[in-house]
Every structure is written in structure tokens, then in C-alpha cells.
Amino acid sequence: MDKVIMTVDDSASVRQMVAFTLKGAGYAVIQAVDGKDALAKLASEHIDMIITDLNMPNLDGIGLVKAVRGMPEHKFMPIIMVTTESQESKKLEGRAAGATGWIVKPFKPEQLMSVVRKVLG
């Protein structure tokens, strides 16, 4: 079974870039447009890992991390936050909320892959 990764971002191009890279490495990818959409998909699909943006409508990244960590079945789900360098404080906030790690935008496919390998194997 290929592992399933959900990319959560309101920017379609970022989602596509992430999806393209991950599929190329043999992962299955589910896309969600915001935190709310992500929670809905999490309820209906099997997902092994989440890569989420921070600033999104409806439910933002921090909110998503908190919500996921609150679910007993997803307590140990690896979650990577996509941040920009100016969001150092967000990084700490995300960490406090229970994110596994982060990746700084803009990133290259191999950087993404090394982060994914680090937390998902």
C-alpha cells in the first residue's frame, strides 16, 4: 500500500507542486483547499500524513493541527507546516499546537522529500 499524504493549501499551484513531487516519489496524494475541507477528508479517507499551509480561509493551519491532535485516532499523525520565513512566531505556535515539523516556503522538491522522509520514512 502506498502511503497517503494530504496537502492542505488554498493555493492550487502549491498543492499541485506538492502533489506532483509526492506522486513522483510513489506516495498517494489527497488535496484539500483549507482546514475545514481537510477535516472532512480526514473523516472519510485513510491518511498517513498532512502537509498544511498556515494562512487559509475557514480553518487555518494552527487550527487544523489542534483539531487533528484532539482526535484520539490521529494523535500521532505526522503533520508538517508550510511557513514563510517571516512567520517565526507561527512556527513556535504550531509546535505548541503539536505539529511534527515545518518546511519553509519557497522550497524545492528535494527539500520537501527530505522532510517527508524524515517524518514518514
Binding site: F76, T100, G101, R117
Partner: protein, 709 residues
């Protein structure tokens, strides 16, 4: 994969790249004069292709990425979509220089100006007007990791990693972090369990284990810190370098007290040893005293062991220091030894005829020395096949990872020795074949599982001697070759006509034709149709052959048969009419007589009864169309190749001869049945018989008469 093997691979890559780059330069300069020469264009493309492929394999990602851009341009040229312009050759020459710089930079001999790299890439892209995104955005700036990997920078670190209990609540899996460390080099991980509470208090959602890790790596301490970047602030982490004070040669300092005392004559060594034997090890004493946990002793022992090994390695490297010798000098040496062997044969012959005692004894002495010299000279050239195996392991590992497949490489016959040049020239073909097996042969795990095969695919690389040749097999248990697909493709490419009727062997042979490649996609793995045709060319150049066997659904086997192209072999001299031939002694089983009566008894069939076994034979006089009077009695030299016994009928056997192999030259390359020539004691030339090929030729030409009984 140890750091050593990787280093060896990297060295090999650098050497290979240097050669390719100088070739490339010449080709480019030629190309300027003849911009439409397809052969030159192909040469440039292949040089880039090889540098890219090998570069990626050994972690020179910057070089691989950069080279990819140039390769892309020449791929377009090859397809006729881009013309060779002055601008293109200029850019490519600059690119070539830049690759050179990148390689030098990896040895710390130069620094790479990324602006130059960028500029070349951008200019190339403008030139080829990339708009469809085939050339991915260039990422180049990864030189720092390549630059830091130098053997001398290898260091050993002690890492203590103690996560806080709540580590798991961030979705972190510490095992993955440890695996990442394992990939950095030689690594010893000891899990410490003394903090795990008794079962009734144990909470599986908290992390109570902590780890001691000893890692020897060429990467720096920052790379180790990066491993733990996501758990920063969630664990206790200490990283210390522990091999700073290891000397390159401190064997004196490494002596134990008892040994030093013994050397000074203060005590006898065996007395010390017997005293020590009765004593417990320090670790055991400490554990017994309850002062230290067993896990910690284990960690300390591992540390001690690893440091010792590193020290040994360093000493070995210092003492087994080798020198690099240009191969032409080695060739010259082999030539000279060859001449010496020839002259020595004459000396011995003369001594025997002369019968003078002093001369005879000198001749014998010279003979002994010559043979010793011959053996050590040949020994210099021989390398075990195994020296290249590690590089293939790495190749398979990395490729399967990239492709999302599970594949192991099994190897066999690592100690099979082959001439250095042969091994070198085999490297490219083997890489191509193994790549094909991994990329096209072995299926994805799910597909395999559905087909009732183990998820893990196997590529088996084996080497072994078979008579006078070396057989190298690359087997995979993948999907096998698809005959129909090959045929369709060959027809589509215009390589064969629509209605061609081909045997299975001929169909598989199609994949070795230039311009045939079953890979449609452009990946860094399978390449762009540089493949089996090049493999075949390389193997042909070694006077070898490739045989392909395949069963759909069960896998494919590529068998490379190569002559043992030693420069000197033991041969058997035989006379046929006025000509003298050499039969390699390694395939000779025995010699028996053949009388006219024997031949009549078998009704002129070319078969002889040797102690109840029927052995087919080839009459060299007939086969080589040599006219001479019939003989009453001839001799059969019985040979065995591939478990097949075939006799060669000669006038008589002269005797054994140290045969210095000389090439017959390009003009006689295609002569079947003769593998080379040698110069005899009297200065005349004798031909060396290529026994397997002779047998094949005769089997093919007259299948019923010669071998059938």
C-alpha cells in the same frame, strides 16, 4: 553501505568524469568543424549522459542536475530539433569546464561560482527555447554538501538523544531519525531502556527509551543537528566529536600497560596474560557492583569498538598506501614481460640443444624468474569482480528508492578475477543492464504481490569462470521481456519490416539495436535510449557476447561471456601441416591418438570413441582448408567448454608454450575461431585458437555432421 565503498565509488566517478570530459572537449572541437556529424553528436550526448547518471549515483547532485541541462540540449540536437551552432558548442565547452570545476570543488581544489552555472543553464534554456517545461527549473545551489565529503573530513561523533516523554504527541517517530543517522555513515545505535518504568506504570503513549549513537561520517556536525531539527526543544541532545585525538599511527601509545612492562623486561608477558585471564572485565565488575547499567556498558563498548576500527582503517590506509600508475606504463610492462617470456623460451631451447651444464643452470634460473615476474605482473592487472559490486548495490538501492520499488541485489562470485581493463570497460554495460532490470524488469511491490510473487524483487549479479571465459549474469525475477511490445516497437521504429518472422533470440536481439529503447519517459533512471546498443558495442569491443533469456512473468537473464583477456596464457602448441597453432591449455582435457582405422570404424563420421565416450571432433585441416598429404596417425586434442567435449584433430602435439597474446589487429577482428596470435621462439607467428567460437561456428555451419552422432 559503508563510507568506504561510497568513497571508492566517488573516486571512480571522478576519474571516469575526467576522462569523459577530455574526450568531450575533443568531440566538441571536432563538432565545431563538422556540425552535422551524428557520430560526434552522439558522443557528446553519451558523455553527458554518463556523467549525469554516475554523478547522481554518487551524490554529485549538483553535477547531475547541471549536466542534465546540457544533455537535454543535445538530445534535441540528436532528434534534429536543434542545430549545432557556434553558440551551442561554446556554451557546452563552458559547461564542460564548469563540470570540471565542480569536480575539483568536491575535492576542495576549487570553488564553484554559482553565477556561472546559472548563466550557462539560462543561456542553454534560451537557446533551446524551453517552454514546455521538459527541463525542470534548475536547482543548482547544492554544492556545499558535495564539497564537504572528503575522506579526511570523516569524523566520529557520540550522540546522546533523550526525547521528552511527550515526543509522540507531535507525530514524531524517533526511529526515523535514527535511520537518518544510519544513512550518514558507520553507525552504532544502542537503545537505553533503564528509564522504562515497570509494566503497571508503563504508558505506551510516552517515550521512555533514549539512545546512545556512535556515528562515523563525512558530514559535519550541522548535518547531524539537522536530523534533530524538528525535535529541537523536545529532547536532550548532545553531540560530541570523540575521535579528535586519535593519531594516525599511535601503536606505541595503544599498548596496554602489561605489554609495556613486558617489553621493558619488568615482567614476562605470559605471566601478565595468565593473571589477566583470571580477572573480570572492568565492565562486568561495574555492572556487578550496580554502579552502571548494562546498556551504558554496551554503549561504551560500541564506542570503543568503533573508534578502534576507525583507527585501524586509518592505519591501513596509511600503510597500504598505493600509488597510481598510468595504465600505459602497465601495458608497457606487460609488453616487456611478454618479450622476455619469448626470449626466455629461446634461451631454454638453446640451452637444451647446447647441453652445456652452466648454461642450462642459468637458463633454468632465468626461466624461474621470468615466470615469477610474469605472475606478479599479471597479478597487478587482475582485480576481483567484487570491487565493483558495491557500486551496483548502491545503484540498485537508490534506483529502487526513487522508483518506489523494493529490490535487493544479490551477488555471487565476487572473487572472480578479471583483467583490470576488462573490469573497467564492463562497468558501463553492467550499469545499463542493471538499470534496465530495476527500471523495466522488476515490477512495483503491489503488482508483484498481485502476481503471487514476493514484494521484494531480486536482481542477481554473478560472475564465474567457464573454461577460458568469464560469464557474468544479471538475472531478475521481474516481468520478463514482452516479445510483442518489442516487435511492435521495432516495427514502429522501422528497425524491422511488418512481416518479419523472428525467432525468440532474434526478437530479444532487437533491443540491442541502435535507436531502440523501450522506455518512453525521460527519467534520470532509464535515460533516453542510450542503452543496450551501447552495451553491445562495449561488450563486442571486449570480444565478448551477450545472450538474453527471458520468460514472461518470471524475469530476464542477461549473460555476458567475456574472454579471459590475459596478456599471457598457458598454451598447447600443435602442428597442422606447415602451420602451428596454440590451443589455450585451460580448455584442454587430454590428447588421444586417431588412426585411419579408427576413422574407418566410425564410417568417416567425425566422432571418436574415447574410452567408451563418443566425442565429436573438428579436423583443423578441413576446417581451415589446409591442403597436405594424409597421415596414418593423427592426434585429437580433447577440449571441454560449457560441459561440452569437442576434439580438435591435429597432426601432432608439440608441447606446452607460454603464450604471449598479441592482437591480430582491427583487420582480423571478425575472424571466427582465432582469438589472437603469439610469437614463437624462432620469431614466427602462431595463431591462437578460439575454441568456443570454433565449436559454435562448426555447430552452426554443419549441425548434423559434426556434432550429431
Amino acid at each position: 553501505m559503508s563510507g568506504n565503498e561510497l568513497d571508492a565509488g566517488r573516486e571512480a566517478f571522478k576519474e571516469e568524469a575526467a576522462e569523459l570530459l577530455s574526450e568531450l572537449e575533443l568531440s566538441l572541437l571536432d563538432l565545431e568543424q563538422h556540425p552535422t556529424d551524428d557520430e560526434l553528436i552522439g558522443r557528446v550526448f553519451r558523455a553527458m549522459h554518463t556523467i549525469k547518471g554516475s554523478g547522481a549515483m554518487f551524490g554529485f547532485d549538483d553535477i547531475a542536475d547541471f549536466t542534465h541541462e546540457v544533455e537535454t540540449a543535445f538530445d534535441l540536437v540528436r532528434m534534429g530539433k536543434l542545430a549545432v551552432s557556434k553558440e551551442l558548442t561554446n556554451l557546452t565547452l563552458r559547461a564542460r569546464d564548469q563540470i570540471r570545476t565542480m569536480i575539483d570543488a568536491s575535492e576542495g581544489k576549487a570553488s564553484v561560482d554559482n553565477a556561472v552555472t546559472e548563466d550557462i543553464v539560462v543561456s542553454l534554456q534560451i537557446l533551446i527555447k524551453v517552454s514546455d517545461g521538459t527541463a525542470e527549473a534548475s536547482d543548482i545551489a547544492q554544492t556545499e554538501s558535495a564539497a564537504s565529503e572528503d575522506k579526511s573530513l570523516q569524523a566520529t561523533y557520540r550522540i546522546k538523544f533523550k526525547p521528552f516523554a511527550e515526543l509522540f504527541t507531535t507525530g514524531t517517530n524517533p526511529v526515523l531519525l535514527l535511520n537518518e543517522l544510519r544513512q550518514m555513515g558507520t553507525c552504532n545505535v544502542i537503545a537505553q531502556t533503564d528509564a522504562i518504568p515497570p509494566l503497571e506504570q508503563f504508558n505506551p503513549e510516552t517515550c521512555a527509551t533514549y539512545w546512545d549513537v556512535i556515528v562515523t561520517t563525512t558530514q559535519d556536525v550541522n548535518a547531524i543537528r539537522d536530523v534533530f531539527i524538528f525535535v529541537d526543544g523536545m529532547c536532550e541532545l548532545t553531540i560530541e566529536r570523540i575521535d579528535d585525538d586519535l593519531e594516525y599511527d599511535d601503536s606505541e601509545a595503544g599498548m596496554k600497560l602489561g605489554e609495556i612492562l613486558a617489553e621493558r623486561g619488568d615482567v614476562k608477558l605470559d605471566e601478565v596474560n595468565s593473571l589477566l585471564d583470571g580477572q573480570k572485565k572492568v565492565g562486568q565488575i561495574l555492572v556487578d557492583a550496580g554502579m552502571v547499567d548494562k546498556g551504558h556498558i554496551q554503549a561504551a563498548l560500541a564506542e570503543q569498538q568503533q573508534l578502534k576500527e576507525i583507527q585501524e582503517q586509518r592505519q591501513k590506509a596509511a600503510s597500504a598506501a598505493s600509488i597510481r600508475v598510468a595504465s600505459y606504463r602497465l601495458d608497457k610492462l606487460v609488453d616487456l614481460v611478454g618479450e622476455l617470456v619469448t626470449v626466455q623460451a629461446r634461451l631454454s631451447q638453446t640451452a637444451v640443444v647446447n647441453g652445456e651444464a652452466t648454461l642450462t643452470s642459468i637458463a633454468e634460473e632465468v626461466e624461474r624468474l621470468t615466470w615469477e615476474l610474469r605472475d606478479s605482473t599479471m597479478g597487478i592487472r587482475m582485480l576481483p569482480m567484487g570491487t565493483t559490486f558495491s557500486k551496483f548495490k548502491r545503484l540498485v538501492r537508490d534506483l529502487s528508492l526513487d522508483l518506489g520499488k523494493e529490490i535487493q541485489l544479490a551477488t555471487d562470485g565476487a572473487d572472480t578475477e578479471l583483467d583490470k581493463t576488462v573490469i573497467e570497460k564492463l562497468s558501463d554495460p553492467l550499469v545499463h543492464i542493471i538499470r534496465n532490470s530495476v527500471d523495466h524488469g522488476i515490477e512495483k511491490p503491489d503488482v508483484r504481490f498481485a502476481a503471487g510473487k514476493p514484494r521484494m524483487g531480486t536482481v542477481r549479479l554473478s560472475a564465474g569462470h567457464s573454461g577460458a571465459s568469464v560469464l557474468i549474469k544479471i538475472e531478475d525475477d521481474g516481468a520478463g521481456l514482452d516479445k510483442d511490445a518489442i516487435l511492435r516497437k521495432a516495427i514502429a521504429k522501422g528497425l524491422i519490416s511488418n512481416d518479419a518472422e523472428l525467432s525468440e533470440k532474434e526478437i530479444y536481439g532487437l533491443i540491442m539495436l541502435p535507436g531502440f529503447s523501450t522506455s518512453e519517459s525521460v527519467t534520470s533512471v532509464s535515460g533516453r535510449g542510450v542503452g543496450m546498443d551501447v552495451v553491445k558495442k562495449n561488450v563486442d569491443a571486449l570480444r565478448g557476447s551477450i545472450d538474453i533469456k527471458s520468460k514472461k512473468g518470471f524475469g530476464s537473464t542477461f549473460i555476458l561471456q567475456l574472454p579471459l583477456t590475459l596478456a599471457i596464457i598457458d598454451g598447447l602448441l600443435v602442428k597442422v601441416a606447415d602451420d602451428i597453432f596454440v590451443i589455450p591449455l585451460s580448455v584442454v582435457e587430454e590428447c588421444v591418438e586417431l588412426t585411419k582405422a579408427d576413422v574407418e570404424k566410425m564410417n568417416d563420421r567425425h566422432v571418436s570413441n574415447v574410452r567408451g565416450v563418443l566425442i565429436p571432433y573438428i579436423r583443423l585441416r578441413e576446417h581451415f582448408s589446409i591442403d597436405a598429404d594424409d597421415l596414418e596417425t593423427e592426434q585429437i586434442v580433447v577440449t571441454e567448454v560449457d560441459d561440452k567435449k569437442v576434439g580438435f584433430v591435429v597432426d601432432y602435439v608439440i608441447g606446452e608454450h607460454q603464450t604471449v597474446i598479441k592482437s591480430l589487429g582491427r583487420m582480423f577482428r571478425e575472424i571466427e575461431g582465432v582469438s589472437g596470435a603469439t610469437i614463437l621462439g624462432d620469431g614466427t607467428v602462431a595463431l591462437i585458437l578460439d575454441v568456443p567460437r570454433l565449436v559454435n561456428t562448426v555447430e552452426r555451419d554443419t549441425p548434423t555432421r559434426t556434432v550429431g552422432v
